[in-house]
């Protein structure tokens, strides 16, 4: 299809979506809810998408997508409110924003900082969406060449790389988390022979483990326990006067905006690595490339713009592997994958054939969400700030109820609730011991894909592993996996930096 044809479908989709007043209401309500979820310390974008998944499963697909993507975009943006006004990041993605946002608020520039974050987030979301629209069809086309060998390696790659940037303690803890996720994915009857594995005689486990309750448990329960254990003492928010978009500052920060958006998109496209990493990397880059790095941390608008552009651009980036390969780019995208599966959408290379036009629809919805975010941000900012005074001891138990009733509503099965609590408590202790949770969740999601494709590949080759080393894409994936794994090993990193130092020194000595 030519470019003009695609644009006409794109705008036709926007008009079709907006012609339904119900979608307008959903868009605005979900956006405001998203901003509130992001703004309240203790609630996260992932949790917001998780809870909304259970509420939207009865809606038509496009309405559910409007609601879920609005929540995702709104929550990533909303985190900046509490960062700027009370110096407590509403979400991990907005932690870097507090470094310059709060000093700006202390100087009486809270309104300006909020205006900047709103505009930067808007631009970041748009650029991320453009990247999604431009690259997703190409990647999907490439992925069509994949066979079982590549799909097994792809699943393995997703699990390995999701822990590569998120492990804080011992590097192999992310691998252990990934293996635990794969273990959970093995529970139930296997897809090829229907043999019951690890069901321990419980018929309820024969259908396998439901992904959504596991995700709600892994992301929701640890958050509740952690916040109740270490309650947040929220001070009175800083005063906010006029909230203006400040296009002048944004225009002067053009290079910073584009660079931060590219960082956000790139990091978003890496499976399992979320908006927080994008914001920190982009903040560091903005500081290192600035003419006045000493101003960073004292209320420098460039710092706020860099973080907020990157974390919202990350959303579009995270949707690229999700829609083209079926591998979520960030924790909220993992939740979104669960929601898509509930609606009968199987993200992956076959998506353009199974649901032609879905990618364009998602792009159109993202554009609507970014516009709604900007309008809601500018108009409702003062009202949302009032929510910051809500005590976490009151709203987190309510979130607990929503987690429970939401997990139950998915399959009307009480076993899902038991599973949610057990996974949640285990995830809490794993997080306490510095195990990253993203590889575990991605292991649960990609486990069936890994299992089925490994056995199918070996069936084709009659038990030979040789095709893994002779097929070009397989070899590239294998090498990437080995490099990613090696890169996490401290000894290899020391050897590598020593090698670089020696190479750099040689020409000088000559």
């Amino acid at each position: 299809m030519d470019l003009v044809g695609q644009f006409s479908i794109f705008f036709g989709t926007i008009v079709a979506l907006l012609s339904n007043p119900y979608n307008w209401v959903l868009l605005v309500v979900s956006m405001v809810l998203g901003i509130v979820f992001g703004a309240l310390p203790g609630l996260t974008a992932t949790l917001g998408v998780a809870l909304l998944t259970t509420l939207t499963y009865g809606l038509p697909l496009n309405s559910a997508m409007i609601s879920l993507l609005a929540m995702y975009v709104g929550a990533v943006y909303g985190g900046s409110y509490s960062s700027i006004l009370i110096n407590i990041p509403g979400t991990a993605a907005a932690a870097a924003t507090a470094l310059d946002g709060y000093p700006m608020a202390l100087k009486g520039e809270g309104g300006r900082a909020l205006g900047l974050t709103t505009t930067a987030s808007f631009i970041g979301t748009i650029l991320g969406t453009l990247a999604l629209a431009a690259t997703a069809p190409l990647i999907a086309q490439l992925a069509l060449q994949f066979t079982s060998y590549e799909f097994f390696l792809l699943a393995f790659f997703g699990i390995v790389i999701s822990g590569s940037l998120t492990a804080n303690d011992l590097f192999y803890k992310s691998w252990i988390a990934g293996l635990l996720g794969l273990t959970l994915a093995c529970v139930g009857r296997d897809n090829l022979q229907s043999y019951p594995r690890f069901t321990m005689g419980f018929s309820a486990l024969e259908g396998g483990i439901e992904v959504v309750p596991v995700l709600i448990g892994a992301f929701g329960i640890p958050q509740i326990i952690k916040t109740m254990r270490d309650p947040l003492r929220v001070d009175k928010p800083q005063e906010v006067r006029k909230i203006l978009p400040d296009w002048g500052t944004i225009a002067r920060q053009f290079k910073n905006v584009v660079r931060s958006a590219l960082i956000g998109i790139g990091i978003g496209a890496v499976p399992g690595v979320g908006e927080d990493v994008a914001a920190w990397v982009s903040y560091g880059t903005a500081k290192n490339t600035s003419r006045h790095p000493e101003r960073f941390g004292t209320g420098e608008p460039a710092g706020v713009v860099a973080c907020e552009t990157a974390n919202n651009a990350c959303i579009g980036g995270a949707l690229i592997p999700l829609l083209t390969l079926g591998i979520p780019g960030s924790p909220p995208a993992a939740m979104l994958l669960g929601a898509l599966l509930i609606h009968g959408v199987n993200p992956g290379p076959n998506l353009p054939f199974e649901r032609p036009g879905f990618l364009i629809e998602v792009t159109a919805i993202m554009l609507l969400c970014s516009a709604a975010m900007w309008v809601c941000g500018m108009l409702l900012c003062r009202q949302v700030i009032k929510v910051l005074r809500a005590p976490s001891e009151v709203f987190l138990p309510i979130v607990g109820v929503l987690c429970v009733i939401g997990s139950y509503a998915i399959g009307l099965n009480v076993v899902n609730l038991y599973l949610m609590v057990l996974v949640g408590v285990a995830a809490f202790f794993l997080i306490e011991m510095e195990y990253p949770i993203a590889p575990l969740v991605i292991g649960v999601i990609l486990g069936p894909m890994a299992d089925e494709n490994l056995r199918r590949a070996l069936m084709v080759s009659q038990g030979s592993f040789l095709p893994f080393f002779t097929r070009p894409v397989s070899v590239i994936l294998l090498l990437t996996i080995v490099l990613v794994m090696l890169n996490q090993v401290p000894t290899y990193r020391q050897w590598q930096s020593g090698l670089f130092r020696r190479v750099r020194r040689r020409p000088t000595a000559a």
Binding site: I176, L179, Y195, E393, V404, V421, G463
Partner: protein, 252 residues
């Protein structure tokens, strides 16, 4: 004890747990058809359902060994063995708050949700969970948590033993009403205990209001909005159904 040593000590225990998981997986995988025929189909090792579990278990064994060796090398194992039988850290305020949170959530899901009317169970859970932390007094946390656990543990055990009444029967409705009365009584006792503390009383009033409103709102939106049957439907949900039918008749 510094944080790093505490982490290595935890690594020692978790490595043992991972050994257990890996051993369990290998034991269970060895019972799966490897080369034998299953459901009339002759198997080969490479299509066996045990293939991936065995690979995962092998990976887990290697990584658990690495974790254990690191814990031994860095003194975590020695610290873990030295701390056996000592629960000094359990008395710390944060640990108590963590354990109380886990206990209340587990009590709600394992004890109340499958058995007690959703509205009553949820209102009680919220009252206990919010009051324990929001009112800001340790004796209220103790009172609410202990009463809650004393209530849910017998319900769970009775169901486990198969003596809990079946859904829709008169004894089940009676038990729902007893739970409602206990929730009411617990509220009254807490209110009296908070007599000398006006801030505590105001907070408890907010707690009770939020508990009832959220329990009713979630049940109405899921039962009548999303048409999702609630986990347990007792006297309150039935009363809501009667009201809904009456309203529909009025509307018609």
């Amino acid at each position: 004890m510094d944080d790093l040593l505490r982490m290595r000590r935890a690594d020692f225990w978790t490595s043992l747990i991972f050994f257990g998981i890996a051993a369990g997986m290998i034991g269970s995988a060895m019972t799966m058809p490897l080369k034998e025929s299953f459901a009339g189909v002759q198997n080969a090792w490479y299509v066996s359902p045990a293939l991936l579990p065995l690979m995962i278990a092998a990976g887990l064994l290697i990584l658990a060994t690495t974790l254990l060796c690191n814990a031994i090398r860095t003194g975590g194992a020695a610290a873990a063995l030295a701390s056996l039988g000592r629960w000094a850290e359990a008395s710390r305020d944060a640990t108590v708050r963590m354990l109380v949170s886990i206990a209340i959530i587990a009590g709600y899901v394992f004890g109340l949700i499958p058995r007690v009317d959703y509205v009553i169970a949820t209102a009680l859970f919220l009252q206990v969970f919010i009051a324990a932390f929001y009112v800001g007094r340790k004796e209220i946390m103790r009172l609410q948590t202990a009463s809650f656990l004393l209530l849910v543990a017998p319900a769970f055990l009775a169901d486990l033993l198969g003596v809990y009444p079946s859904p829709g029967t008169a004894p089940r409705y009676a038990l729902d009403l007893i739970v409602l009365l206990i929730a009411f009584g617990l509220g009254l006792v807490t209110w009296r205990r908070l007599a000398p503390d006006p801030i505590g009383r105001r907070r408890f009033a907010i707690t009770t209001t939020v508990s009832i409103v959220v329990a009713l709102l979630t049940s109405v939106s899921f039962k009548f909005g999303l048409l999702v049957p609630l986990p347990a439907e007792g006297p309150v949900v039935r009363a809501m159904e009667t009201v809904a039918i009456a309203l529909r008749k009025l509307g018609a």
